[in-house]
């Protein structure tokens, strides 16, 4: 009789703890279960093997994927089914492309060049290829060192300035509009993205922090810290925001993506370190499109992996 009661008590406790555990896991289970690897691009006979791709850009209007195949000094384009379209290197003039965007007039801005940190303007139909000079921007303590590019719906160009820990915003004609920075002089803006409302989502790798600015460049929210916890960053390198306002942060050393709601509340994390398809090895760049596809430059595995998240 006593044994049976004792057993019943422990069984009840066990069931309750399993149930509570499952409730806690539901959000992440739901999310991670809804991620499917749909493409893995590492080059083939037609394109040749990729060589250290560093970043990419998906053109929503043309539904084209552009990959900066940095080590091969070229940009490669694919259609939305990931069929190869073409590649270009501006007649051998394009060196080490490391970040790129394309505006509504189908003109490219690319960071690269022999010195790796110059911005180039490329208009293929007009055969226009030139270095973009940033004029009128407030002088920083150091020379401007462009790191990453982003573009908004008005074709304003956003440039992370690694030399001065800030983001520079230029209008569609290349004129300086504003600079975005924070008090902490050690904040490094390693990546950024702009949403449809002009809000800027940026990432400081050194601090392990996400900074969000409104379309006037005012800081509206910052969150995140470095650590070992599930919600903490080890070495965050890239950031993206999807059409629902979910914020994705790619952690290079964790080999995973951490997802936060727009108020900075942690939602889930998915993917892991490894070499097999669907796993990541020192990933360097993250991009999300309007169809909830997640593009990851899986640099250590020398490939681009594309995942479909639940629509």
């Amino acid at each position: 009789m006593k044994i049976s009661q004792k057993f019943r008590k422990y069984f009840l406790r066990f069931t309750i703890s399993i149930f509570m555990g499952l409730i806690c896991l539901i959000p992440s289970l739901l999310f991670s279960a809804d991620i499917t690897l749909i493409a893995s691009l590492s080059g083939d006979k037609q394109t040749g093997k990729f060589n250290q791709p560093v970043s990419l850009f998906f053109d929503e209007s043309k539904k084209r994927l552009y990959i900066a195949d940095t080590g091969n000094n070229r940009l490669i384009s694919f259609d939305s089914e990931f069929n190869y379209i073409s590649e270009f290197d501006v007649g051998g003039k394009l060196k080490y492309p490391m970040s790129l965007v394309r505006n509504s007039r189908e003109q490219f801005f690319v960071i690269g060049g022999p010195a790796k940190h110059e911005i180039f303007f490329i208009d293929i139909p007009q055969r226009d290829f030139r270095r973009l000079e940033i004029r009128d921007s407030p002088a920083g303590e150091n020379p401007v060192v462009p790191g990453k590019l982003a573009i908004d719906k008005n074709d304003n160009l956003y440039i992370t300035d690694r030399g001065n820990g800030r983001i520079l915003v230029l209008n569609s004609k290349g004129r300086f509009l504003r600079e975005i920075k924070v008090e902490n002089r050690f904040a490094d803006f390693s990546d950024m993205r702009v949403d449809m409302d002009g809000n800027v989502y940026s990432l400081s790798t050194l601090e392990g922090k996400v900074y969000i600015f409104n379309n006037k460049g005012e800081l509206t929210l910052s969150f995140g810290k470095k650590g070992e916890g599930l919600q903490e960053f080890e070495f965050p390198v890239s950031i993206a925001v999807d059409k629902n306002g979910l914020i994705y942060v790619l952690d290079q050393h964790k080999g995973s993506i951490l997802v936060f709601k727009k108020d900075g509340i942690f939602q889930s994390s998915f993917l892991k370190n490894g070499w097999n398809p669907g796993e990541l090895n020192k990933p360097s760049y993250l991009y999300t499109d309007m169809e909830n596809k997640i593009y990851i430059v899986d640099r250590g595995n020398n490939r681009i992996q594309v995942f479909q998240a639940g629509k």
Binding site: S42, Q52, V54, T70, G71, Y96, M98, P114, A115, K116, H117, A139, G140, E141, N142, P143, V145, R162, G163, N164, G165, R166, K181, R185, F186, D188, S190, T205, L206, K226, E228, E234, F235, H253, G274, W275, N276, P277, N281, K282, D298, R299, G300, N301, N302, R303
Partner: protein, 412 residues
Amino acid sequence: MRYLIILSITITALLTTDFSENKLVTASPLKSCLDCHPTLKDKISEEKAHSPVKDGNCLSCHNPHTSNYKGLLTGTEDTLCYSCHKTGKDNSFSQAVIHDPVKNGKCLLCHNPHSSTNDMLLTKKGSEVCFTCHQRDSIISKKESHPLVKKGDCIACHAPHSASNDGLLKKKSADLCSDCHKVKEGQFVAAHVGYPVGESDCSSCHNPHSSDSRNLLKASIHRPVAEKGCTACHDAASSKEPLTLKNKGVKLCYDCHTDTIKDFEKINSHITGNRENFCLNCHNPHASDNKSLLDKKEERVCLGCHMDTKRRISAKTTLFKHPKLEDCSSCHSAHGSDNITFLKAKESESCGIGKCHEQQQVFSHPVGPEIIDPRNKKEMNCITCHNPMGSGYKYNLRLDPDKELCEQCHKL
């Protein structure tokens, strides 16, 4: 009904039990303890015994019957000590910079919990207790030593528990030094070429402990400093603000170190982290005891930012480590690199640098452009199977060689 009977028996038993004997044990358990622990007798009679010991209150820390903790302690070391010593004198446990043993609750590294012949129940006398962890040779082995260091008076400058300044200094470096050194007197000013450095961080040029150079100068001196050519970077000593820099940010360094610019023009570049002058992330512009004027030892400079790497390589599970782990620049290029993870050479050539693994290059699992890893279609190289930094498996293998390592590619 059965429960009611048990309950009433229990209450009656409690009400009728005489606890006087137990009370006696709690109040003075010393005699019973000393019956079996006679060696404690001498310690207890020492003048500098811990107050619970003096009072014979062994049970304030020990459980006489059973315990989950070593020494039959009633709790972990930190919870026990901090239960009485909550904040330390003048909040000395909770300043911005906390001594690691204090942070980790390892009070017994320095203090004896029973008694000691030394003040503050220290396990050793004066600086000897510090030298238990901080290697004496690295602090006072040089030709010239600071008089306070010679005397072993570490706490003249350092707070042993916590402080608001780096290095657990009791005051800011300049304030601390100027307590003894008359920084406004002519001789001092003349020795510093007329610059008012009395309010600056003296440890920028001097080693406050010991040095092989006169005046405790650090081992490597930036050439302009050694030549007393301060005007290479600063305004003239006679100007209104003589410590003002001549150029902004990194341009000041690039003016002379023109070749270094190229080092940063790489796919992976360490241009980051300090918008005032990113060179100062790692280097000391005046003097250093480390190579390349690094501000700290190389490993500490790198791991200061790469904290998760530090955590990973110092984890208990990382049983096997690369022997040159402390010398990051033996494999990585600190300023920038076109190779992944700032490697000096391509992944496939990295382990061959310095002829470290010549033999393995000849006898090994086939590697090279023709040998393709089926998992990611990349060419196989040493790093495919080995984690150069370290791992839990022999030879720094990434996975267990007796289980999943080979099966990754060679499916059974």
